[in-house]
């Protein structure tokens, strides 16, 4: 399964990157392909191209603030393939979140 995600948090310095790490670790455990874009205090890192998103099975938006480029995910939203969660949730319960993503 291919997972793409964006993580973003108000101060953009800790949760943003921990959420990225948590998602990547859990996906690796399950053998999924994963790409996580971070929108933090250092700007946007690992930016997701439209084709990365289109070819993904599911999108996880672990964001606590409004993000740049939200339009990229419109099609996936319409298809019910986007999971909106708080970054803290994925840091605490990465397995649950990935289970939910799988079942979208």
């Amino acid at each position: 399964m291919k997972v793409v995600a964006v993580t973003a948090c108000p101060t953009g310095v800790a949760h943003t990157y921990m959420a990225q790490e948590a998602i990547e670790k859990e996906c690796k455990k399950r053998g999924y392909t994963v790409q996580v874009e971070t929108q933090g205090s250092m700007g946007i890192d690992n930016e997701l191209e439209q084709e990365d998103i289109d070819s993904a099975d599911v999108v996880i938006l672990a964001v606590a603030i409004s993000i740049e480029g939200e339009e990229r995910f419109e099609e996936k939203e319409d298809g019910g393939k986007v999971l909106h969660i708080d970054p803290a949730d994925v840091i605490k319960h990465p397995a649950d979140i990935l289970d939910r993503a799988e079942n979208l």
Binding site: P10, T11, V13, A14, H15, T16, Y17, M18, Q20, E21, A22, K25, G40, S41, M42, G43, A64, D86, A88, I91, K92
Partner: protein, 162 residues
């Protein structure tokens, strides 16, 4: 060998030894934050305590920063912060971080971020540290560490290429 934080254009330590407080007999979020903020001011990392403490408390009110694994990562962004820094406080035993939320913590990392985002190297270090906290071995050693030198060493080992 670049260790990720020192001596790159005279970049100072993001976590100084004086900002590592071990074995503190404190059991509330307020006490812990107050001590860390006080220590930050003493070490010239912030120019004033109140605005920074308020910023950190406000952030807590949005979403508590106890993220499981016995750690909390309170942080504040404020113009009184001179440069990005991290202060670590290890309590003598686990305590409830926030009323109404189940997470108990023993290790607290207070992160200070200036208003303008120009200290990228420091911010990079902090993001690396945050990620490293998800490493069970690394974290467990810090949670029970009794030697400041060892804690300092551990915290600075994360900048090294694997």
């Amino acid at each position: 060998m670049w260790d990720g934080l020192s001596d790159v254009n005279g970049v100072q330590d993001v976590i100084e030894k004086d900002m590592i407080l071990l074995g503190q007999d404190l059991a509330t979020k307020d006490d812990v934050l107050r001590l860390l903020v006080e220590t930050a001011e003493k070490n010239g990392l912030i120019t004033e305590q109140t605005p920074f403490l308020e910023a950190a408390l406000q952030r807590e009110a949005q979403v508590p920063t106890a993220i499981g694994y016995r750690i909390a990562i309170p942080h504040g962004k404020s113009e009184v912060v001179k440069r990005p820094f991290v202060g670590m406080l290890q309590a003598t035993s686990d305590f409830l971080w926030t009323e109404g939320h189940e997470e108990e913590v023993k290790l607290i990392f207070l992160i200070g971020v200036p208003q303008e985002n120009e200290h990228n190297i420091h911010l990079k270090f902090i993001s690396k540290l945050s990620k490293k906290l998800l490493d069970d071995e690394f974290r467990d050693e810090l949670v029970d560490c009794t030697d400041v030198e060892r804690a300092y060493e551990l915290l600075h080992s994360i900048g090294n290429p694997a």
